[in-house]
């Protein structure tokens, strides 16, 4: 326990209260017992003196009236001889007649007492008056020696007071010990929560026993675990989180944020906030944010770019936690890495712009030429040329729209599952090849279905046809008239692999792609040929890739700029037992080719 807060502590308060309560209680006890004691003593004394009164009344009164001095003296002597009486004086009216006192009676002032304790010198003075019809005719002054009773009383009083002090002391001691035990455990809790808030995880908690504090301690431990869980969650967050305490010190910073800030910010924990601001400003991309010099200016931006050293786009959300009085208690800085989102945003908007541009171009041709045809009279040849252009551009427009819709559908996955059927690709490939061979471009298509090896696979006919058409039309698009386009099949038997792979290879001798372009193939909206000389939306291969992936297959694309491109569409071969059944099912299936083609994926 680090330090005791003495002033206003629970222990001191309790002790003060105990003291006051005990004192009040004991005071009442003391005074009442003193009263009872003195009362009882007085009573006893009065009873004792009762007989004396009778004696005085019966013997002394007649003598005083008759002023028989001798008799008075005699009876006074007899009274003096009585226990405790040390002084006797008899008066007739106000004239003293006889005054007797014992040898031990000191010189003292006679004072009538009403209470035993008032007689401080140990003598209790009593006056007996002789009344006859309301007139005092004489009196007897008596002094009782009550030192013994008084001593008894005083002794009792002292003992009472002593007992009271003793009781108070014991009560204080017990309170001290009891509150000490309680405050120690409460202080343990306080210390633990301070230590935990400071980020230490090894804390000592009062969990022993069954009392309230122990159960509080257990509840506290429980809470701590939950807090730890939450911190663990914060630690796992891919977004940067920083908590700032009310005194502008960094109370928490998660690994993701440290990662963003880089190695320079390793020990930001517990440091003032300015350190974090400095670290953040140092990684800020100065080229983009030339005018941002302070963190406040940075916080006003929606997003900002940093380089760490790779470029990242961050979005900062700053939230102040206020206490009920409206003062800022702590602050939370949430830095979200939106590099990916902003990249996708940028790609989408770029794609939309491109798509709009690409759609407008054929539309412009269609509108312009039809306008010309409407207004002017041209010779047959020109009319034919224009009509052909209109037709070609309309078809172009249609293809683009189809591509756009397809990609939108695949992205939304609204097509649901594939309509898989067992069979071989021969028919599909044949159809596609016939279709593509019928196009404008006069490429030389080499496809020999009888020579190929048609393994049975599971596929969705329409989807695969679409993928194949995209690949084939790409091969045509990027080739010159008269170039060769070869379609053949491959079979790859991998040892230990779950299934064999059936490959459909489409090789062209067109313009090809550079390594850089190849890396981007299959990305949506990416066009290897950015010249725009070849129509397209940059979706063909993206679509094909998506479709082949849905079939658990993959596309293998190799290319050399200027030499041509080779696309292999790999699909898993269906199981062997099914192969047999499929063989019987498909009558047009030809026998496999002489030898399986060897594969070199780097070729």
């Amino acid at each position: 326990v680090s330090k005791h807060r003495v002033k206003g502590s629970f222990r001191l308060k309790t002790m003060g209260l105990t003291f006051v309560l005990f004192m009040a209680f004991l005071l009442v006890l003391y005074s009442s017992s003193q009263k009872i004691l003195s009362n009882s003593l007085s009573k006893q004394f009065l009873v004792q003196t009762q007989t004396l009164t009778e004696l005085i009344q019966s013997t002394l009164k007649p003598y005083v009236l008759s002023e028989n001095l001798e008799a008075i003296h005699e009876s006074a002597s007899s009274i003096l001889a009585m226990d405790q009486i040390d002084y006797v004086q008899v008066y007739s009216y106000d004239d003293p007649l006889v005054e007797l006192h014992s040898s031990r009676y000191p010189e003292r002032q006679f004072e009538t007492d009403t209470d035993l304790l008032e007689a401080e010198d140990g003598y209790f003075d009593v006056v007996y008056l002789f009344d006859i019809e309301g007139i005092t005719v004489g009196k007897v002054l008596l002094s009782f020696s009550i030192a013994e009773e008084r001593a008894l009383l005083v002794d009792a009083n002292r003992k009472l007071a002593l007992a009271a002090v003793g009781m108070t002391f014991i009560a204080m001691l017990v309170t001290w010990i009891l509150t000490g035990r309680i405050t120690h455990r409460i202080q343990l809790l306080e210390h633990a929560s301070n230590r935990f808030a400071a980020g230490f995880s090894d804390v000592e908690l009062p969990v022993e026993g069954n009392d309230e504090i122990a159960s509080t301690g257990r509840a506290f431990e429980n809470m701590m675990w939950q807090l730890r869980e939450k911190y663990e969650a914060l630690n796992l967050s891919p977004d940067g989180i920083l908590l700032l305490s009310s005194n502008k010190l960094i109370a928490y910073i998660n690994p993701a944020l440290l990662n963003i800030l880089g190695h320079s910010a390793e020990n930001l924990y517990g440091k003032p906030f300015s350190e974090f601001a400095k670290a953040l400003m140092s990684i800020l991309d100065k080229r983009v944010h030339q005018d941002v010099t302070t963190l406040d200016a940075l916080m006003k931006l929606r997003d900002f770019r940093v380089h760490t050293p790779e470029f990242k786009v961050l979005r900062c959300i700053h939230k102040q936690v206020d206490n009920p009085d409206g003062e800022t208690y702590s602050e939370v800085f949430y830095l979200r890495d939106i590099t990916h989102e902003s990249e996708i945003d940028r790609m989408k908007s770029e794609f939309l712009t491109t798509a709009a541009h690409e759609l407008r171009t054929p539309l412009a041709s269609v509108m312009g030429f039809s306008e010309l045809l409407m207004i002017n009279k041209y010779d047959q040849e020109k009319v034919r040329f224009m009509a052909e252009t209109i037709n070609r551009q309309s078809q172009n427009l249609k293809h683009m729209l189809d591509d756009l819709l397809d990609i939108a559908r695949i992205e939304a996955r609204s097509d649901g599952m594939l309509n898989l059927e067992l069979g071989n690709l021969r028919k599909v490939v044949n159809e596609c090849c016939e279709l593509i061979a019928g196009s404008d471009k006069q490429c030389q298509l080499i496809f020999m279905p009888d020579e190929a090896d048609w393994s049975p696979i599971r596929f969705d006919e329409n989807k695969l046809k679409q993928a194949l058409m995209n690949i084939l039309s790409n091969a045509y698009k990027y080739s010159q008239d008269g170039d060769l386009v070869v379609v053949d099949t491959l079979l790859q038997e991998e040892q230990g692999a779950e299934s064999d792979w059936f490959g459909l290879r489409i090789t062209d001798h067109g313009i090809g792609m550079t390594e850089d372009q190849l890396a981007h193939v299959g990305e949506k909206f990416y066009r290897a040929d950015n010249t725009g000389a070849i129509p397209g939306t940059g979706l063909g291969i993206a679509l094909a890739t998506e479709i082949v992936l849905l079939h658990n297959g993959h596309l293998d694309i190799t290319s050399q700029p200027g030499e041509g491109t080779q696309v292999i569409l790999w699909l898993p071969v269906a199981d062997t037992d099914q192969k047999i059944s499929s063989l019987t099912e498909i009558p047009e299936h030809t026998l496999p080719a002489d030898s399986p083609v060897s594969i070199n994926s780097n070729s």
Binding site: T353, E358, R360, G368, F369, G532
Partner: protein, 233 residues
Amino acid sequence: LKWHDASDPIKNRINVNTEKKYTRLRETDIHPADLRDRQLFMQQVGICAETLALWHRSGMICVVDNAVGISHHWSITELQILVTKIRHDYREWLRHRNRLEHRKILVVEDDTDLRHLYEFQIQEMREDDWVHCVSDGAEALFSMGAVKPDIIICDLKMPGMDGFHMLDVLADTGYLRDCKKIIITGMQRQVLDKRFTLPDSVSVLTKPVDFDALHATINTAMAPNLLQREKAI
């Protein structure tokens, strides 16, 4: 295309960039020591200093210490042929026309069909107009010196050198300052404004083109020009 004339003295000095990655250069990027080579180049190809500056600024030709690393070159001869052909075409056409009446229009558009369309449309409007179509900014800049067009109709998004780059270089060099520039683009005006600050003299039409508007723009632009030419003669 590669160099094939080994005896060419400036073989390793001036290269024509056909990689279609153009970076605009400033006047100061040419070292004074290259001036002699520039003279020779101009003589050989048959172009004036203005044209050379235009080509250079656009990044189409660049001066390098050696040709290593640049895979595509145009020979001087080929440049000569290119320039001569454009000039020849123009002169042939000019021979049969009234010098006063015709207008020279340069169309820069990457889409073949649209090029045809513009040609048809413009000739439909005025048979005497000379229309020269090119497919990108670089080609346009190649022919500009020879043709000196009155009007440039250009697309913005084009393969190779795009319209932005071409107009930028023209604005930069002040070449053909009096020439009316008309942009025909598929881009929306807001997107365009965000990327490019156009001078007021440049008209913008969006695809699909309203040809009446195009004709009107050409006519208003040409009216003072024709008047001036009349006066000069």
